[in-house]
Amino acid sequence: MKKVFERPKSMFPVPTHYCPGCGHGIVHRLLAEVIDEFGIRERVVGVGPVGCSVFIYNYINCDMYEAAHGRAPAIATGCKRMHPDLIVFTYQGDGDLASIGTAEIIHAANRGENITVLFLNNAIYGMTGGQMAPTTILGQKTTTSPLGRSSKREGYPIRIAEMLATLEGATYIARVSVHNPKAIIAAKRALKKAFKIQIEGLGFSLVEFLSQCPTGWGMSSREATKWVEEKMIPCFPLGEFKVPRSEKPVK
């Protein structure tokens, strides 16, 4: 029998620190697969966030920065401007990107920085123990929205993909999910497209991954993937929100 599925080369053969069922492990694998398939491990540079995936550099075998909370796009800008030949990605959670880092992500996109952003939206702050995030959806209970998020008190969940798609500097913006294999296959296609756009120097690309957080949501892994489908996707519709001029977005 032939081996048809194995760990991608760019991924260190080590266990992760993520909770059982967490979407980070899946997205890490997709990232490593895309790096392998483009054969760019030796010229790819990652900028990790502060959050559960602060330890991404323990899992992906390439040069990496550890960024201050929210500042990955600025660091990626400095790096990419110094090394335009390198393929630079940032990997950020919703607290990192959609809360403290909103200015950096908006302006990196607006400048059309030729980088790729992987944005993990799990509607909560995982690393610090389950607090409300800007993408926490209405009614969702967290340790800092114990009564369930209400728009009157805590405002509305931020839709980053749609927001950034209004910026002319952004070339490719998509939202995908990793809650089941079908979604994971589509997610990889979008991620590959994002990296291709950077490799071809077409400008800023971002893929928002809806990702389950069983521990933070207080659910089993299976309930969490169901919650993504039934609660998150209606609030954060999947699809391509911005594509290079020559293409039509896939809804």
Binding site: V4, E6, G25, I26
Partner: protein, 70 residues
């Protein structure tokens, strides 16, 4: 037998997402526990029903499953 999978029991954290997606229901959570104290997933395919479709491996957050096919 067209396909089979190998689950790395030490990497598995027993999240059971693979159990959920296997079309042939060939994966179950084992009674034994691994060194971290998780009940790992276990591949049981007495009738050789596995087609090597890789759905389990795709959904595994720990990249703990390798898939083989004829």
């Amino acid at each position: 037998m067209v396909g089979k999978i190998v689950i790395n029991k030490e990497l598995c954290k027993g999240c059971a997402l693979c159990v959920n997606v296997c079309p042939q229901k060939l994966i179950a959570i084992a009674d034994e526990i691994n060194s971290k104290g998780y009940h790992p997933a276990e591949f049981v395919d007495s009738k050789g029903a596995c087609t090597g479709c890789t759905l389990c491996a795709l959904t595994c957050p720990e990249v703990a499953i390798e898939v083989f096919r004829e």
